[in-house]
Symmetry: C2
Subunit: 532 residues, 2 copies
């Protein structure tokens, strides 16, 4: 069995009884020794492969506890023209992307802005030059117009004879021929015929997203099922397919769609079934909507509004569903943003307790963005994991301030939750926000955007230390998977999941934490990412 020794590093183990070490040995998929170089080399024996860390920092592999990994990959696959001011460069980018796609696949893109290109609208002829043989469609940055090539117009049956639909416009040239720009409702003519991603496209998206995750030092992911129940259980199928192909290089916990509770009960499936590469999580439910759409469910009205948002699953029904799931050994994973939504979920979990079966995995609340102060201790009391995404805090703080006012004292309240004994499991919510966990660690420790706004951090009393934030990406998620004895810390016997970093997160200023990334990522003793 292969033995690897990592030497000459600064190894942050997250193990309190041996916080820092210089060397670490791996045999097969597990760590066999951690300590000074002499001890580790002795344990490893003479047959080992030695990697010189050149003093670099090593941390346990991180977990993203909330990532829509297939959607992230699909978004990544699209050509992104955001901020691209050079039209020729934009076309080059499209040409390169078109050549990489499998035969027949649509080219998708987004982010273009013709005001950066001199104000002239691009045309299908421009697109045809770089992507003649496959359908190509690119959303404008505002999502209100679509740039398509001739192949798309042909497939959609859009010709000079096609009338403009109500509320929309097909841009036309001087001969009445469509130019390739579709505005507002005219975009629907294309969306109606746009194929959903094929299995191959989904798998390619998944590979892309996993490689990106590994490049940050992520080694485990917790993945919600497709948000739309009509999308079916594709994520689980995709992951099983990727695994069958021998390409699953990151560990995944995948949740069950709320609509599939009867299926899980019917099969007798309980949370936790699976292995260290692919495991079934809990039942994904939605208690409310979002902050931005003012549909997060609040105990009191939004600032300056007379409404309190929407209880997507009302409290009485929430109790029924959570009770039923927990009684069958299925833990719940509930999206709850507003304080009323969070209270509803905590109440439901409390109500489910008397009839709950053994839960292999704990119940959890996803986001938990704003909490009534009295609900904060209940996470620890009820054993509910607080699965939060620090980047939402700094991305949304202005909006939160405006819509929640002084209630923000207990919004994104990781410090309060941690002090009250809750387990934190941090994630990204990608593709909604960046997949980069170091952006999350930066947000959790500074509560500032990368430009340092606001100066002392937003509600700075909620900041975490780097060690606490890192633990919320390593140990917290491992507890959430009931895998804390195998993952999250670097100790003998643990799975060899770790990342060698470009910068030492404990040495650089916290304001620079977002610059950290992995140079080498190891999962189960195998090098799965190495930066060139």
């Amino acid at each position: 069995m292969k033995i690897i020794v990592l030497r000459n590093g600064t190894i942050y183990t997250l193990n309190p009884s041996q916080p820092v070490a210089q060397a670490l040995a791996i045999r097969g998929e597990r760590i066999i020794a951690v300590g000074d170089e002499a001890t580790v080399r002795a344990a490893a024996g003479p047959q080992s492969e030695v990697i010189d860390l050149h003093g670099r920092a090593v941390v346990p592999g991180l977990t993203d506890a909330h990532v829509h990994i297939v959607l992230h990959g699909l978004a990544r696959q699209q050509v992104r023209l955001t901020g691209c001011a050079d039209f020729t460069a934009a076309l080059d980018q499209i040409a390169v992307a078109a050549q990489r796609l499998p035969p027949g696949a649509w080219l998708r893109g987004n982010g273009w802005d013709h005001t950066l290109w001199g104000g002239c609208w691009p045309t299908r002829a421009d697109l045809d030059r770089v992507c003649p043989d496959r359908p190509a469609m690119l959303d404008r940055k505002d999502g209100h117009s679509l740039w398509v090539n001739s192949r798309v117009l042909e497939l959609a049956g859009i010709t000079a004879a096609t009338p403009d639909p109500d509320g929309g416009q097909i841009q036309r040239d001087e001969h009445g021929e469509p130019t390739g720009i579709l505005l507002e409702t005219a975009m629907e003519l294309v969306r109606a015929i746009m194929p959903p991603p094929t299995r191959a496209e989904r798998l390619a998206a998944l590979r892309l997203a996993i490689n990106e995750a590994l490049s940050y030092g992520l080694t485990s992911l917790h993945v919600p099922p497709a948000t739309n129940p009509a999308d079916g259980p594709d994520t689980l199928i995709d992951l099983q397919a990727l695994r069958a192909a021998g390409d699953l290089t990151i560990r995944v916990l995948v949740h069950i769609a709320g609509a599939h509770l009867d299926h899980a009960i019917g099969l007798g499936l309980r949370s936790g079934l699976g292995d260290d590469w692919l495991r079934i999580g809990g039942l994904k439910l939605f208690a409310d909507g979002s902050l931005g759409s003012e549909s997060a469910h609040m105990l009191a009205p939004y600032e300056g509004r007379d409404h309190t948002g929407i209880a997507v699953i009302p409290p009485a029904e929430m109790k029924e569903i959570v009770t039923r799931a927990n009684a069958h050994g299925i833990s719940v994973v509930v999206h709850a943003i507003g304080d009323a939504a969070n209270r509803s979920v905590l109440d439901a979990i409390a109500a489910a307790r008397p009839t709950a079966a053994h839960l292999a995995l704990p119940n959890r609340i996803e986001h938990a963005q704003i909490l009534a102060p009295t609900d904060i201790p209940r996470f620890a009391e009820l054993g509910v994991i607080a699965s939060m995404q620090p980047i939402h805090c700094t991305a949304d703080m202005a909006m939160a301030e405006r819509l929640w006012g002084t209630r923000c004292t207990t919004s994104y309240a990781w410090r309060s939750l941690l002090n009250a004994g809750a387990t934190l499991a941090f994630g990204s919510d990608a593709p909604v926000e960046t997949l980069d966990p170091w952006a999350g660690i930066h947000a959790a420790t500074t509560r500032q955007t990368t430009d340092g706004t606001p100066v002392n951090g937003w509600y700075p009393e909620q900041r975490l230390t780097v060690a606490e934030a890192l633990a919320a990406y390593c140990i917290g998620p491992a507890i959430t998977e009931a895998a804390a004895e195998r993952k999250g810390r670097l100790m003998p016997g643990m799975l060899a999941d770790l990342a060698v970093l470009n910068n030492d997160p404990f040495q650089i200023p916290v304001s620079h934490l977002y610059t950290v990334h992995a140079e080498l990522t190891i999962v189960g003793g195998t090098i799965v990412f190495e930066r060139n």
Copy 2:
């Protein structure tokens, strides 16, 4: 990590390049060295625990590829009075059993015969003496009468005032009081109120059955779901509960009930999900009935009959279901006894091929008791596993002879299947037959009952060698689980699943193979059974 060295043995590895070794070393859950003692000790290092085998034989852990493990345990939990001619001894046996049961559990028993006890019927008073405080019911050996205690009569509301039901009789004493014997339809008065086994009883049954399995050297089981879909997915739930309790000491592949295909598809569950302890198998279906009930589906009428049995799932429907399952990555596990049933399944699997998804586990036919000669090569051609139970052959050969006549040339035709390239996976079908795999190996190699009948074996040209039969309990099932690189042979890197035997199966006469059992059984490097 714990290191164990087994030395001074005759280790049959089933590895053709090193068939026999003297020593073997285990580190953690895996084998790290196999060979002569010096080599193995060198690989193990000085810190190892050494077990002296005293020359005994070691084989890879066996798999029972078809066992109703919960039902077997439940049957084992009942008091068995078969052949017991001493009434006092029978009561003692009941008393001991009653004390072992959890509070409130019903005492169940079977096999008693009052003609062996002087001809007097036993009474509730007899039972009350040894089992006063819990309901007790024991089926007579013929299943036509029931012996119950006063608690059962009370629960069933059976008093002197209860009239005899049509077709039944409540035995009464000279005062008209029920004596505790219920005949024919009167038994239904009790069966109607008899509780199904509780979760605790089911788990106790499972523990009992698993320990029995380990005592034969079995280390893996393939378990069909509850036969009656109304029984639900209890087996999977039980296994997950046992595992949660830390008590799953044997590896289990558990199949999906045919009625649950939609659930599996809905969830996106594919065969093979799970880990080395608990894994989801294929979809269990029934193509036909049984030999004894003349419902096995035959191409030509039963001997002396004008019927051909019953296609439980007719061929057209079989094609639809198998196609649908295979298209969703779910392999099938189809009960097929008769030659027509087997052909129907082979045809269905062939028809499913063009649209089949990647199958992590191969399709399989359970029993395959009689095959048309032209269908024998199709198992290998289609990659269908022949999952057979050798003990059915010797238990049923007289009946097979009577009902199938000369067609028996290709019944229980493991030699023909093996020669045609099929993978054999042997099992017991317990509790229908004994769980003991050595009884199966004896049947497979002799085609005789343990008393040596018939003299040269029944259709002796179908006999296997000991090595072939053992491989069908070790390597074949591992192939069936897509785990042949981890299980089934004793080689470095493989899971340390093995059995130390009382007798060397390659040295004793084949007529004595049924006397073999395990003295020590190791699963994943842990000693899980040791004979006192």
